[in-house]
Symmetry: D2
Subunit: 366 residues, 4 copies
């Protein structure tokens, strides 16, 4: 597929470039009758938007969303919901030198090899700015899942460069610019970022994201497994290089007698599976962890080649996030919500008539 | 989607259950004119098939493949290639007790919750036996990629439980039952597996898989990224809980000045990207690493519930792999080949007319 | 798409060639819990199979279907249902001369132009024999729709060459080889066919097909309209050159005041719409009419070219239907059922929560 | 699928409602390097737009298109092309009474049955106004096909109500408001329409559309046949009730010896096939004919029911086309172009390596 549509039954088609006139998306397949206004979407956009602390890019975009279709008298009609976000603070001249060379670690080179030309302004189509429409679409998915199924989403940063961040207090997450579930670690994170910025360098991060209150029975055997679709969604976020579900790479050194989550009438005894067995949800929390690479656009000079094929050195000025992981939490939540809403719709297409003798096991036994 | 079709333009539709009459697949979209016979496919099936060493399940399946369509006078015709593998060594009585309870860590529970019923014989549809048709389809993809583009695939085990396996000598891989690229580590692996089997337990593994000689420019922005599709394919393999591309989770502690692979006219200076930037191939080796959880079917008794919802204990007899990772290498290769062939076809659909002034950079500079 | 899969949520992937070892299909997405055996499928296959009267091809194929997967203890499991039909009465030598030339009106030429090679035996992939697996899949769809929604399907021949066939008595349809809803017209049809066969020529036909007891609200705005999907399904049947819904081409000379079906609390007053308005089902009968062209394989000599590009004359021997329309009725029913089951599943994915104050209007007012 | 996306590799996702703030579409998969500006698109939009003669709706919409993405320095970049058309002349009060009742022959009833609610303003999503974005997308497809393959598109009205319109002079088509290929018939058409409008009624029409200079080998066996995809595209246009390819329903009374187009080294001797055999293009002109039903929104009072289920009478005021067929020609051309561009891309995905000994036969022999 050409690559700009996500999902099967709750389909999001994304468009735009970092410095074009607008970015946005079309959501097709949203169930009718959901109360929806711009305000329902703006909250998550604000969590992701740039310019909100000194640790992220200073580009100032209000990211105000306009609903162009699919809502009538405050309710979704079941027809496509088009969302438009105008770009307002482009400074394309900052990127002039990128046109003729390729930033190491950046998509500059591969876009050019694929298409023979590219929009270099602000990274064009490869910019993380294109996650904004996904956050907007995810907000719609989240609202429907919450109202219909009681499903909620939560994400946080669990590591910044070398600094592990403990999950001490989830209520702290919205209170700091790092989405860190700990108040005590903030001074260390701020000092770390300040040093990095002064060094003209960038760092990686690890993000956790979870869905809670997940219906069981979601996913399909073989392909379209719930965990495979989650891996696809997460690896598709800009700069992600690794994805884990549940125990993740830790399962390599586990024994079967340890890894397999025991079942009791009162619930599961553990959640090493991360909420998915055989590609299908167990009803436990979905537990996902992702690795985000350091930003490619740095002030440190690096070796590269020109479009003419000659050796050169590239040094990126302009406004950039020294750690793209800092704004990644709401993006990961949105993508997880988009995977889940699609599977809920798929499941009721095929299995709406299934009747079972007892309700799902509780996520964890008391 | 219902979940049994993989790929967009080179589409593989899989069918069958572990103990049904047959398993197989239909490949739709293979280019015409490829020389193809059962012998081209049987080799990879033999690498994956059970019963070939004491470290894997003793089920004895020849996994002989029959081509039912799509080949005329030794050449593919461009129409669907149906591949059929008859099951021959089912012992369904071994699994009798599984019908009424659920193995911890296994899909028994989730299939039942989704469908309201399930085929319990040998795991039914959730059995890793269903990877055999994918290995067969992958063999067709590999052949076409090798002949048309010179692309080759290689995989190996890099860790078995706690034992790391160094990549000392790739020529050793086909010479031992572990797909280990080292002769010296084999005695240790064998002792480890023997102890595990005697303990009635199972362990996890880590597998590396690479594609070499990859065309550049494959993949799409935003979704259908090459790395996202790889993550989807890998996480969809039975028992996989984590996927890394290139530096993977190691990127969290890297700096941007270290992670971004520098370009020179003589080639890239490193391959932390794993061959993908912005979702599009660089022409470097694709480097993928996956975590495989320990087998759920073990002799050690575990707590579970019955279909009636009552507490019970489950202990799995029958014939099982104590480490499903041992036979996973050819599966991972096949899935990587299936991702790649699809992207080659997608790319030439959209970008066949693109002309560039110089050929791809070499994978690594001299 | 490569072209061998039909449907989105109830997906049928077809494989095989006329004279290969086997033909068949894989049904993915069938809801679980449907009682299903070969006997449920064989009936429709027998209605379509060749050799049952002197007016159709004398090839003798039992078309016995084998279920390879997806059914456990007599119930569908929700996993893929693979259906296999072995070919048994191939006489490929009859078609020897077709290899080097192209029958006018046949796919010989276009397959060769597309693929550069083709399987000429019995028409290979382009043979109407490949409709058998669709009839088999359609039988599964019909059973589910009948049991779940009370929907039934009926088709008949309404014109054979110049002879219009009135719908006098639907109970006659299964009692004659033409699927004609009239006993009195049979002698005329038989004489017509006998003369045609002696002349070494072929003729066209018109087939009507209807679904009755159709849920309302099926279909989607803009694309995936129910009538558009029906047109796609029907035009995809071998030899079909025209499709009408409801009034069809007759609407060109209607007035709006005549065409629009009035609504009353007791039901609709007419059904010019054919059961679809704005692409969505009204709950009235779906009324479809298709034109089937005369068979291309005839004994009459015709001008053509050879593969070398030289002028030649082609005359087709072998065993052929002098009117492919005669066996088309069960095929059209099956395709209509496949369209409908897919839309029922799609509809409950998106609109399962919709509540309305009154039930669907009756199909026609008393 | 939810129903707002058309195409596989050249994908168009449509959004908007008749009286919402905007309508538009996102084109994903357009090859890179095509010169494109708003002016390339506006021409076809102007051919379709309302208010240009007294025979069509008097709604005054400039239908000015804005390109939001996917074009950089005048060339397509291969990334999504978003097209936006603001609605400017909504008069929603004209439609007030439609909210509580259902126009016979209109989608009012079925939308409500499907979604439980609907946007009644100007027909909402079911309005033919939503064809404007398809015309815009079709203009992009046409331009690429013309520049790359020399393919051109032409359509005309061949019948208005009872008046057959002969194809006497194609150069007349752009010179009259009916797209009629005849100057002499215009006075009769004008008188016919004036009488109809005064009577408060509407009529149907028949439209022909052709593609010329079509590559051969396009289409796929079984499904995704070129003619099946054309039937899908055409039946999906608002108000279409019938589709014919080539001889269409005329084939029912043809003999095989007449219908099958003979081949000679100098070209085909006829084109009854309409340019498609076995679902694959022959290289001859694609010949398509469609039936368009009379407009449902008429001043003549008709019986209907209210949302409360009670009998009522409905009479539609507001501004409407008395024959929607009059503006249908550019829409049919656009849809045919969208089908064709998708198949060109699909074909080169699978069959780019096919080599044949001689070029396509000429469309018709001299």
């Amino acid at each position: 597929m050409p690559g700009s549509t996500f999902g099967t039954l709750f389909r999001v088609t994304n468009f735009g470039e970092s410095h074009g006139p607008a970015i946005g998306c079309v959501i097709d397949g949203c169930p009718p009758g959901l109360a929806l206004s711009e305000a329902d979407i703006q909250g998550d956009l604000d969590r992701r938007r740039p310019g909100t602390s000194r640790h992220v890019t200073q580009r100032n975009e209000p990211d105000a969303v306009e609903i162009l279709s699919g809502v009538y008298e405050g309710l979704t009609t079941g027809t496509p919901i088009a969302l438009l976000i105008r770009n307002t603070d482009q400074r394309s001249k900052d990127y002039g030198n990128i046109l003729d060379t390729f930033r190491p670690g950046h998509a500059d080179y591969t876009y050019w090899r694929k298409y023979g030309l590219r929009d270099p302004r602000g990274g064009g189509r490869s910019s993380a700015r294109l996650t904004a429409p996904m956050v907007a679409a995810g907000a719609v998915a989240k609202k429907w899942l919450r109202e219909r199924h009681g499903t909620t989403f939560i994400g946080w940063m669990s590591q910044l460069g070398e600094i592990a961040i403990p999950n001490e207090d989830e209520s702290q997450i919205p209170l700091n610019p790092f989405f860190a579930p700990s108040a005590s670690v903030i001074p260390e994170l701020e000092a770390y970022m300040d040093a990095l910025r002064h060094a003209g360098d960038s760092c990686g991060a690890r993000i956790e994201v979870q869905a809670r209150g997940v219906p069981d029975g979601l996913g399909a055997p073989l392909f379209d497994k719930l965990d495979a679709d989650i891996a696809y969604a997460m690896m598709g976020i800009n700069a992600v290089k690794g994805v884990e579900i549940g125990a993740g790479f830790g399962c390599v050194t586990q024994r079967g007698s340890e890894h397999g989550d025991e079942l009791t009438p009162g619930g599961f005894r553990s959640n090493h599976s991360g909420g998915v067995l055989g590609g299908i949800s167990t009803g436990q929390d979905l537990r996902v962890s992702i690795a985000i690479k350091p930003t490619s656009s740095i002030r440190t000079p690096r070796a590269s080649v020109t479009r003419a094929g000659e050796a050169t050195t590239v040094q990126t000025l302009g406004r950039h996030d020294p750690c793209v992981g800092i704004r990644a939490t709401p993006i990961a939540e949105a993508m997880l919500a988009l995977v889940l809403v699609d599977h809920v719709l798929l499941d009721r297409a095929q299995c709406a008539d299934v009747e079972l003798p007892w309700p799902p096991l509780p996520p964890l036994s008391a």
